[in-house]
């Protein structure tokens, strides 16, 4: 496993050039399985020279006559010393040290480091913790496994995006998703949101284009100290993905074929009652969308309003009418990987296809990716390598959200409505193609799902070229050029007679993004620099980055006739049609000096200066430094007492700057539009154009970069030869001078001004704890757990501004906001007034609650803490891995839950329905006295539940505490020794399940969804798809 990671060293391995020395010894180092071991430090007893093994495990060292022994040391292996004698070749088989703490990790810019030398937290996952688990999105595959990281998917729909935040939110309005880096090249993980996230089909985050089957390791750089070399882009942390490389054991060709199939089912919906059907006030009403009608055993017996084959259907319960709308999804995932070659010349070819039929009708994801990569060494000094990956991702979705969408109608569907007859194509629409449903002016869910469709077709190219040159034994120059280019062609259709766009609408949206990134890196490395055991590495680099995007959004309204979804069928093409282009460029200059003494005391100093195109010339060059120290006190103090065998304390302070978005420095005019989803106008009016100032006003004072400063301390401990390890990190981050479009008083005539203002703080604790309770020849049990607790607080915004909404789409009355004194992202809305002792006040005239007080904190999506734990059991060739996670606290506002209540569908609404209710609360009595008595006013059950079911009511805010069995995988390895022929080298069978079980004690719906997906808005469930449970099997054949 480590071998492939270590191959990354290629770029920074130093070869020794011959000088006037006495003789050369060469050799090859292998591990206990015979695999080459790279990056082992080789020193001779004369103390003059040292080198490292290359990716093929080979070394070559020049020694003087005085040298008696060679010492081979590496963090992952026991240090070995051999006497030289007259030998010219010394091959060594190294003994693996049981050292979870002492692994190598890929840090910023692809620099491979001993984990022990780092002064900051970093956590990595290997391929076997990511792949073959029935998960197509690499971000989801990290869930529950990384401390300090919060990951929530939008829903279980195929391709829905996933939000990931590392160490909380650090920017008010900037992108708080971490930077994704694949093989040293930054790539886009954008959602490219051009639709209204309240009502759209949950587009993907583009990291989805990465096939987990090709991933060798994922390393998470959490704080600014870890990511400072990436500069501004990584101020929200970085996810460093390393893909598999070509070289194989022994330079032979290896072919790996993987195939998996899984099923998906919808889970997490509220429970329903099945005693009462369509109607209001106990009376059957065929126009109602609610289930407040009569009991099913009462009249009417035939009155459903649904006519199938000319027969009016009985008035009765259809207990599974909601859940049956969701389909059994499937994922069929196949890949072929061919590796060939040795350390010097090698190539990799991979081809994979994943087809996911989602849990919704008409919802699918199909991803095909093709990769070719090769590496070569020219004239022993120049390393040349590169790869190109082509991916085609097709996503089909259906629009969701409140009101006129399939999911909006389905949420709390009346118990007596049977949808099965509509499922047949042709039944959900009339002969003229219009919406057909038994309730007029309500969209048939199957009409919505089949006719109002969205498609996304992504063609993506990821390429990189590396060239490295060893100038001398201690000096290397390398250049890496990366390209990420994709085109996403989207089409969204609203059929004629759809509720949202009765006149029909076609949107053609083409999004093109390209990113070019070049890094010139000069590395100088010297062991025993001034005195013995003092090693130094200096890296100087220069970075050129260009990001371009174009989005052409063509909106055709008013279809001439139904059923023909070509843009030429639109009668109006001007509303909402626009084109957006952006170009931004960055030049960065950076340096890193790493010093180590005796491999137990480490100091690292880093600095980076950026020049950004997006800031004013006077302020567009900015510098930020970091410093970190690590001290392995067990080595320094020679502690290894059978109890404590490893101990390191570390600390870091870092600052990272961030530039602005493009085009923030000037005022612009935009084509004017008014209104929202209930009434809207947009220019031009016929042929008359209408322009106005944009809502944002440009800064008067020059913008300056924003900075996040972080202080981090930590300790790593290993007990009982690392059978128990503990890794604790505490951090305190302050983000100041945020470049934000801070809200202005609307009466200024503008919605916001771009300025530097505000301060946000994140404090947190991360703990990683591993135990190996049992390990022997046949059986091994590992427990790995992580704990995260982050406290986020908005310290200040701007004088006079106490709160403003997060950029994005929101419903008035539940607005994700930035509010001084609260955590980032609280949802502001109306709350019921309270008596002095905190009880809700009832209106004595009605028995209902007093009118809401607007603008209060309705919900806080930030959790108290989260826990993840993975148990790995292996017995001989069988392995079982179980990952669970637990989130305490945090809140979610659930529209679906509201509808289940107000529509009389939730199980509890069917209990004692004929009995009156009393809302919990107090009445001021006598009026105006300030004294309160408990509410005693009876109201009908229907009224009661309609109050509790108000969409944006505080009663639909749920505690999101949830325990989840995230992932279970049972595998059987049949090793090569079982096969007699040379052909088959290994077979692995596994069965797996994701989201197998959840328990949310305080929520009637699975709170592990976030309808608006990746972005700064969290904590809202707006009638999106529920989560999915995936169960499947996998076979992997190595040839």
């Amino acid at each position: 496993m480590r071998k492939a990671m270590l191959t990354l060293l290629a770029g920074i391995v130093f070869m020794l050039t011959a000088a006037a020395q006495d003789r050369t010894i060469t050799g090859r180092l292998v591990d206990d399985k015979g695999a080459p071991v790279a990056a082992v430090s080789v020193t001779s007893s004369d103390g003059k020279n040292g080198t490292q093994t290359d990716r093929d495990g080979k070394y070559s060292i020049v020694i003087s006559n005085k040298a008696k022994t060679l010492t081979f040391s590496s963090v992952n292996y026991e240090t070995t010393t051999r006497s030289i004698g007259n030998l010219g070749v010394i091959n060594v088989s190294l003994v693996n040290a049981n050292s979870k703490l002492e692994e190598v990790v890929v840090t910023a810019l692809g620099i491979v480091r001993d984990k022990r030398s780092l002064g900051y937290a970093s956590q990595s996952l290997k391929t076997d913790q990511i792949a073959d688990r029935g998960e197509l999105n690499v971000v989801n595959a990290l869930q529950g496994k990384i401390a300090g990281v919060s990951i929530t998917g939008a829903s279980g729909a195929a391709g829905a995006s996933t939000n990931i935040n590392i160490r909380g939110i650090t920017s008010f309005n900037g992108n708080n998703q971490p930077l994704f880096v694949v093989d040293g090249v930054p790539i886009s993980n954008d959602v490219d949101r051009t639709s209204n996230s309240l009502f759209d089909s949950q587009p993907a985050n583009r990291a989805l284009d990465i096939d987990p089957n090709t991933v060798e390791s994922v390393n998470v750089l959490k704080g600014p100290a870890a990511s400072v070399l990436y500069g501004s882009r990584a101020s929200a942390g970085a996810i460093i993905i390393t893909t598999k490389k070509g070289s194989t054991k022994g330079g032979k060709t290896e072919i790996v074929v993987t195939s998996s199939y899984s099923n998906q089912t919808a889970v997490g919906l509220p429970k329903v009652q099945n005693d009462y059907g369509q109607g209001l006030g106990g009376v059957y009403n065929p126009l109602s969308t609610s289930s407040w009608g009569p009991r099913f055993d009462a009249t009417p017996t035939i009155a459903n309003g649904l006519i199938v084959g000319g027969v009016t259907q009985n008035y009765k319960a259809y207990p599974t009418n909601i859940i049956d709308f969701f389909e059994v999804g499937s994922i069929f995932d196949n890949s072929l990987v061919i590796n060939s070659g040795d350390a010097k010349q090698n190539y990799i070819f991979s081809l994979s296809n994943a087809n996911n039929k989602g849990i919704l009708p008409n919802n699918s994801l199909d991803r095909t990716s093709l990769k070719f990569g090769a590496n070569t060494v020219l004239r022993d000094k120049i390393k040349l390598g590169g790869s190109i990956t082509f991916t085609n991702t097709l996503q089909n979705g259906i629009v969701g959200g409140n009101g006129g969408s399939a999911l909006g109608v389905l949420a709390g569907l009346a118990r007596s409505i049977d949808l099965t007859s509509y499922k047949t194509k042709g039944n959900y629409k009339n002969l003229d193609g219009s919406n057909n449903f038994l309730i007029p002016n309500i969209e048939n869910p199957y009409f919505g799902a089949n006719e109002n469709t969205t498609k996304s077709n992504v063609y993506r190219y990821l390429g990189n070229v590396n060239v490295g040159y060893d100038i001398t034994s201690w000096l290397n120059v390398s250049y890496r050029l990366g390209l990420d280019a994709y085109t996403d062609r989207r089409k969204q259709v609203y059929a004629v007679t759809s509720i949202r766009n009765p006149a029909g609408q076609i949107i053609e949206n083409t999004i093109v993004r390209t990113e070019l990134n070049g890094d010139l890196i000069v590395t100088a490395k010297k062991s025993n620099l001034f005195f013995k055991k003092f090693d130094a590495t200096l890296i100087l680099g220069q970075n050129v980055n260009q990001r371009k995007s174009q989005s052409v959004f063509l909106q055709g309204d008013g279809l001439a006739f139904p059923g023909f979804y070509n843009i030429s069928n639109a009668t109006t093409l001007t509303n909402g049609t626009f084109e957006t282009n952006t170009t931004r460029r960055l030049l960065g200059y950076y340096g890193q000096l790493s010093l180590s003494y005796s491999n137990y005391l480490f100091l690292e100093l880093t600095g980076r200066a950026d020049q950004s195109s997006t800031l004013p010339k006077s302020t567009n060059t900015y510098f930020y430094p970091s410093a970190s120290v690590g001290f392995v006190f067990t080595d320094a103090l020679k502690i290894d007492n059978g109890f404590l065998n490893y101990g390191k304390i570390r600390g870091s302070v870092a600052k990272v700057g961030r530039d602005a978005d493009p085009y923030q420095l000037t005022n612009v005019y935009t084509s004017a539009a008014y209104g929202n989803n209930v009434a809207a106008f947009s220019f031009p009016l016929g042929t008359t154009a209408g322009f106005g100032t944009s809502a944002r006003i440009a800064p008067i004072k020059p913008l300056t970069p924003e900075f996040t400063t972080s202080y981090e301390g930590g300790i790593n401990l290993g007990f009982f030869k690392n059978r128990i390890t503990l890794d604790v990190a505490v951090f305190d981050q302050r983000s100041k001078n945020q470049i934000i479009n801070v809200a202005l008083a609307p009466s200024t005539g503008y919605g916001s001004k771009t300025t530097n203002i505000g301060e946000l703080s994140n404090k947190g604790v991360e703990v990683l704890f591993t135990v190996t309770p049992v390990t022997n020849k046949n059986f091994k049990w590992d427990i790995s757990s992580n704990y995260t607790r982050i406290r986020n607080k908005v310290l200040s915004i701007s004088p006079g501004i106490t709160s403003f909404s997060i950029t994005g789409n929101a419903f008035v009355g539940s607005v994700p906001s930035i509010k001084v004194g609260e955590a980032y992202g609280v949802i502001l809305g109306g709350v019921i007034p309270r008596s002095p002792d905190g009880k809700r006040i009832i209106n004595p005239a009605t028995g209902l609650y007093q009118p809401l007080i607007a603008g209060q904190v309705l919900a806080n999506p930030n959790n108290d803490y989260s826990l993840g734990f993975t148990n790995n059991f292996s017995y001989k060739n069988v392995s079982l891995s179980v990952t669970c996670d637990f989130t305490k606290g945090g809140q979610i506002l659930s529209f679906t839950s509201g509808l289940y209540k107000s529509r009389g569908v939730l199980a509890e609404t069917g209990v004692d329905r004929e009995l009156p209710r009393i809302l919990e609360g107090v009445i001021e009595f006598p009026a105006g006295s300030g004294k309160y008595i408990p509410n005693n006013i009876q109201i009908p059950a229907q009224t009661y539940w309609q109050v509790l079911g108000g969409l944006q009511s505080e009663f639909n805010v749920y505690d999101a505490t949830v325990f989840r069995v995230r992932e279970v995988a049972l595998g059987l390895d049949i090793p090569s020794t079982k096969f007699t022929g040379k052909f088959l080298k290994g077979v692995r069978f596994s069965v797996f399940a994701r989201n197998l079980f959840y328990y949310a004690p305080n929520s009637i719906i699975d709170p592990g969804v976030n309808t608006q997906g990746a972005g700064n808005i969290r904590g809202l469930e707006l009638q999106s798809a529920p989560n999915a449970r995936t169960v499947g099997a996998n076979i992997k054949i190595t040839l």
Binding site: A672, F683, A854
Partner: protein
């Protein structure tokens, strides 16, 4: 040394791509940084009309009981639950839609092209009067000026109407006069049939609009400052250059194409078809006045009969297909192309009738009153025969009689009917005069369930972002300045 040379060569190769200009890519290709006034004028006109015809109109129309709310927000407004609403109207339609762009025209074109700044001032005066009438004290003298005033002062309504030089507040009367004055100056650029969607570039008609606006402003403050009201109206009458025909109404055209439809249509006939309908109280009033022929121009009769709904009722609403909803006069014959009517000839007649009655301005109150009814009936499309029939069969309705107060009630009641579809004007008159007499909505709630709201609550965004906003906000039972 040689190694160093290698390093320099590679560095230079990299840097050569970064020559001067590499970072000069921050000029937006997406939006213009300057536009001609001819594309701003249509915007401020539509913005004003959209603000008038959209959610504020829906709220005012149910409060004033032209219509009844059946579902969603309109149903909440109907029972006086107004808190937390109207952010979109205040933010996006009024202040960051109309007002800011009016300010752009005024700031940039007063010197060179006063034809544009003049129209902007007239529409600004209309917009501000609408805003202060609904909310009371509102940002005006410091509003819409961007970073010049980041926390605009809430000017007192009396200062907005009457001016306050020590605070730098120009009265709305002076703003109108200033606008009319601008229209008379030589102008480099002139609005034309495309950019002036109301009067097609005819500045003389804008002068009439300005003078009519003076009448509207005058009658609005007649309770408080009868002297100013009287002198203003008399001066406009003397000038005799105001809207004197239905053809000259200040009304903003919309179109039937998707995205160009008027908000009354787009809400009621397209996107929220089930949320509001005819108020049964208006139906009763119309029936009592035998005025259902006119009512049928305002509201549909899908079943052949009017089907109304009581304000605030929690009973099951009539089937959607049967409900009386806004008719073609308000929604358009094709769909959405009906104009939003902001000032009308019949309004002028009713103003002059009322002022003749209470301010003793020239002219016969009864003549103006009858002209008001007549012009309304003509406007909504009643045939001359229908109008004649109404006048002959309902002499007591169409003739002022009784005490001054009774006559005033007659005038405002007729004005109320003529304003169906523009609830804001009817709501203003109701709060100023108390007519027509309205009963509270059923199941009333809100700040004070016992008072038909006398103002709108300030909106959440302004309250959160402007420390000059009154906090706590005045309750919606506090009267605005001009309401006695």
């Amino acid at each position: 040394m040689k190694n160093l040379q290698y390093f320099l060569v590679i560095s230079l190769l990299t840097f050569s791509s970064c020559k001067k200009g590499f970072l000069d890519v921050n000029t937006t290709p997406n939006n213009p940084t300057a536009v001609p006034p001819s594309v701003i004028l249509p915007n401020i006109t539509i913005a004003t009309a959209f603000a008038n015809g959209n959610d504020l109109n829906r709220a005012a129309s149910v409060l004033i009981q032209h219509a009844a709310g059946v579902a969603n927000q309109v149903a909440a407004y109907d029972v006086y639950n107004l808190d937390g609403a109207f952010d979109n109207q205040w933010n996006s339609e009024i202040y960051n839609g109309a007002l800011n762009n009016m300010q752009v025209l005024i700031d940039q074109y007063s010197a060179t092209s006063p034809a544009y700044s003049g129209i902007a001032k007239l529409q600004q005066a209309y917009l501000i009067s609408m805003t202060t009438d609904l909310w009371g004290n509102v940002p005006y003298s410091q509003a819409g000026k961007g970073l010049l005033f980041e926390t605009p002062r809430f000017d007192k309504q009396e200062d907005i109407y009457q001016g306050n030089s020590s605070l730098g507040i120009v009265s709305l009367f002076d703003l109108v006069k200033d606008g009319i004055n601008d229209l008379g100056k030589p102008s480099l650029l002139l609005p034309n049939t495309v950019s002036d969607i109301v009067y097609k570039g005819d500045l003389t008609k804008w002068r009439r609009m300005g003078n009519t606006l003076l009448l509207k402003l005058a009658i609005q403050i007649s309770n408080r400052n009868p002297a100013l009201a009287k002198s203003t109206i008399e001066s406009v009458l003397t000038g005799n250059n105001f809207i004197n025909s239905n053809l000259l109404d200040y009304e903003v055209p919309f179109a039937s194409a998707v995205g160009n439809r008027n908000p009354i249509f787009d809400f009621n006939n397209n996107l929220r078809t089930g949320d509001m309908m005819l108020s049964s109280r208006l139906l009763t009033l119309s029936r009592n006045l035998n005025d259902t022929v006119r009512l049928a121009k305002f509201f549909t009769k899908p079943t052949g009969n009017f089907v109304g709904f009581d304000n605030g009722s929690t009973a099951a609403a009539p089937a959607l297909a049967n409900r009386s909803k806004y008719n073609a006069y308000l929604t358009g014959t094709v769909g959405g192309e009906a104009p939003i009517r902001l000032m009308t000839f019949s309004q002028v007649n009713f103003i002059l009738a009322e002022s003749a009655l209470i301010l003793a301005t020239p002219g016969s109150a009864n003549t103006y009153y009858q002209a008001g009814i007549m012009s309304s009936m003509q406007k909504v499309g009643m045939t001359p025969a229908e109008i004649t029939t109404y006048f002959t069969t309902n002499p007591t309705v169409v003739t002022l009689s009784g005490t001054t107060e009774q006559m005033r009630q007659q005038i405002i009641t007729q004005k109320y009917i003529s304003w169906i579809g523009n609830g804001i004007e009817a709501y203003n008159d109701y709060r100023r005069t108390g007519y027509p007499v309205l009963a509270l909505a059923l199941n009333a709630s809100g700040d004070n369930p016992n008072v038909l709201p006398t103002r709108l609550p300030y909106t959440p965004a302004e309250l959160a972002r402007n420390p000059n906003a009154p906090n706590p906000r005045p309750k919606s039972d506090v009267k605005v300045w001009w309401a006695l």
